[in-house]
């Protein structure tokens, strides 16, 4: 039996999304840029998908730009705001320490080009406040980019309040909402959002497709040059099948959002309650302002990759922010941004659930995780030092 608890990494493509895609491979296969009937059929589908996706976000149809996914949308939003800012000699950007690398690496690149970036603290609970954003805004600030919900610890930021502060200061506000779209109610107008990135495969849509919402009036810069697609702002023949799959998946997610959210939250809280009983373990991030499916916990004295591999041997698919899983010697920047010491952050486990997970699966996870944690602690010299009192427990 496989228990898939890594839905923050990616989700299974839903049957509805697959069915929505199929006609666009071999029936309505035209290029929307072609003037003939076959091409124009595809163009109609594309327009319809754009309308449907816009509606799901409370946006206008022509405010949606299709991209290859969340990373591209993040890159384009940030670079565009930077270019727009430079025209007015504004080269200061505000963000947080725990953004996704699609945002952080783009910002680092801009810093090398002379932009100044303020990385706000996210505190122990993994949440930045609107007041802190307000205090960081300067006359030369050209962008605030803050994620909607964190991909590792699931904490939800006060997006509407941050948007309000930015609107009042006249600073464009972008949010990487890759983990939030399809899981939380979003209305870009009500929440004062100027740009928003989303990715289809996080809500049971296909991989390799996403979108950027851009409020009317904000000028986009191209990341990909070439053709006149996406109103000249993103070249490349549109990925129609996947765009259709994304539209279907998003509508489906939003139609069932309240029902799924309540169910998944129930599973999540059962998991958090059970795992919290393991001694010297700590749930990371705010417990209330949290994505319905996210559990992130650190176990002192063990390392995350070995934990994942042993859970995998029991059929449980999870994720970790340990250095060994990040490919460097440092553990996840998200966990470090919460103020966790390296040695604790190495022992992290992320379980991310969706509505397809069952109570029985949670029971299996709650049986296996303590077993594996105990096994690894028994062979850990770090645990030995902690238990013998040679070193003090941190958590």
């Amino acid at each position: 039996m496989t228990i898939y608890a890594d839905n923050a990494a990616t989700t299974k493509t839903s049957k509805k999304a697959i069915e929505a895609m199929l006609p666009y491979f071999d029936k309505i296969y035209g290029n929307p840029s072609s003037l003939h009937t076959v091409g124009q059929e595809a163009k109609e589908a594309l327009t319809e998908a754009r309308e449907r996706i816009a509606k799901c976000l409370g946006a206008e149809t022509n405010e949606i730009y299709f991209t290859s996914g969340g990373s591209e949308a993040d890159n384009q939003a940030i670079v565009s705001a930077a270019v727009n800012g430079a025209k007015k000699d504004k080269k200061h950007i505000i963000s947080t320490k725990f953004e996704h690398h699609a945002v952080l690496h783009t910002l680092k690149k801009l810093q090398k080009q002379g932009y100044e970036v303020t990385y706000l603290d996210v505190h122990e609970n993994g949440i930045v406040t609107a007041n802190e954003v307000k205090a960081a805004i300067k006359p030369e600030t050209c962008l605030v980019t803050i994620m909607y919900a964190n991909n590792e610890i699931g904490t939800i930021q006060p997006i509407a309040e941050i948007g309000k502060v930015c609107r009042e200061a006249g600073v464009p506000f972008h949010t990487d909402a890759v983990q939030a779209v399809g899981h939380l109610h979003i209305d870009v107008k009500e929440q004062n959002i100027d740009m928003l990135s989303l990715s289809a495969h996080k809500f049971h849509g296909p991989k390799g497709v996403g979108a950027l919402y851009v409020k009317k009036g904000i000028i986009l810069s191209n990341i990909i040059e070439g053709g006149a697609q996406e109103r000249g702002k993103r070249a490349g023949t549109e990925n129609i099948p996947e765009i259709m799959g994304m539209a279907a998946a998003l509508e489906d997610a939003i139609a069932d959002l309240d029902k799924n959210s309540a169910y998944v939250k129930g599973l999540r809280d059962k998991l958090i309650e059970g795992l919290s009983k393991i001694p010297h373990a700590k749930i990371n991030g705010d417990l209330e302002k949290r994505l319905p499916g996210n559990v992130n916990i650190c176990f002192e004295g063990i390392e995350g990759e070995s934990l994942l591999l042993l859970l995998d041997a029991h059929g449980i698919c999870a994720s970790s922010g340990s250095a060994c899983t990040s490919g460097s010697l440092d553990p996840s920047h998200v966990l470090l941004s919460l103020g966790l010491p390296h040695e604790v952050a190495h022992g992290s486990l992320r379980l991310s659930l969706c509505e397809e997970n069952t109570e029985e699966e949670i029971d299996v996870i709650l049986e296996k995780v303590p077993e594996v944690v105990n096994y690894l602690r028994n062979m850990s010299p770090v645990w030995e030092d902690l238990e013998s009192g040679k070193k003090a427990h941190i958590i």
Partner: protein
């Protein structure tokens, strides 16, 4: 798969796990900050390693290399065990991913640290340059994001 079958076997069924209360040499290398610490215990009789045990905090390959390294030195003369290289451990495990080679270095150093401890305890002279200081972070600088 990330790891070879042999690595997975030594990770899931590690040989020689545990503490040794009457060890003749104990070596601990690594740093919890870096995410791996290995502690190797040796029982030495007449210059021969008659038993070896380990405790490891670390990833799958850290546990597998500890397991393999202890297997490879059991029954060997101390001088022979000193010649154990990380490369030999990697080969015995049918290879490690490039990012995990440092685990094998740690295993080699843990064996050496345990032998150094044995030499120190017994007043046996040795060339200090043969041994590392036991802190992996000195050899592997943290990747400070640029």
């Amino acid at each position: 798969m990330l790891y070879s079958e042999k690595v997975m076997d030594h990770f899931k069924n590690p040989r020689n796990v545990g503490k040794m209360d009457d060890a003749d040499g104990v070596g601990e290398v690594g740093n919890a900050k870096c995410g791996d610490i290995m502690k190797i215990y040796l029982k030495i009789e007449d210059g021969i390693i008659v038993d070896a045990k380990f405790n490891t905090f670390g990833c799958g390959s850290a546990i597998a290399t500890s397991s393999m390294a202890t297997e490879m030195i059991k029954g060997k003369k101390v001088e022979e065990a000193l010649e154990l290289t990380n490369k030999a451990v990697v080969e015995a495990l049918d290879g490690l991913p490039p990012a995990k080679i440092h685990c094998s270095v740690l295993a080699e150093e843990a064996v050496k640290a345990a032998i150094k401890n044995y030499y120190d305890k017994n007043g046996i002279e040795y060339d200090k340059k043969m041994f590392c200081d036991g802190d992996c972070c000195h050899c592997h600088a943290h990747d400070d994001e640029e």
